[in-house]
Subunit: 137 residues, 2 copies
Amino acid sequence: MGRITSLLMIIGFILLGCLRVSEQPLQSDDLGAQPGQIIHHVFFWLNNPDSESDKQQLIEGLNTFSSIDEIKVLVVGSPASTIEREVVDNSFDVSELMIFESVEAQDAYQVHPIHTEFVENYSHLWERVVVYDMVVN
Amino acid sequence: MGRITSLLMIIGFILLGCLRVSEQPLQSDDLGAQPGQIIHHVFFWLNNPDSESDKQQLIEGLNTFSSIDEIKVLVVGSPASTIEREVVDNSFDVSELMIFESVEAQDAYQVHPIHTEFVENYSHLWERVVVYDMVVN
């Protein structure tokens, strides 16, 4: 077998390795939720829950956070139409989920100018907000 | 430049490409939380919140879910020691976060034998449970 054939085979194996990486199923590591990281989950109840415009304004405001360095992951959403069960609270209107590297990073985000400006400009939209901060085991 | 040198350079570029993939910062796509996916977040309040043994038992139970195909991502945690604020509810004892591909996948998980067995074997541990199902925008 010639040198070039051998090298082509090596390239083939490397390419197969790259494919395997991209085909692996999602693990919690891919979530950016490794032990010690903080999942910050916020639920908003709007003053005018029937106003699609208010809902879109709030979502627009939440998306301004995407330039905050401390936020590793930012996801915005609304209640899912899963089976209704007594324990499921689907009464909220908008929700955001963020992942931070540490407690300190979350605390820094709270006083970040983009966040304080968001509260100033958008808090008139909501009636109630509930936050859960979870540290990943 | 000889053929072998050229091939070695090609291998180098491929390896660099592989490195780039693994060095990319986490995006919300890596969260497995793409539009339409379901984030299922559950908070447990224990009957005996001071019992470390009860807490560990519940966590052990939640980890049995790792073999359920419908669950794309499974994360277990506890309240984080972020700054205390009126809107933050850090009174829960244990929390689990899961990501599902669709509403149907979450509904299927509810009746999965591993899940129903979990409820049967571990529900005596908790006093209260609250669930939020969020669809990603």
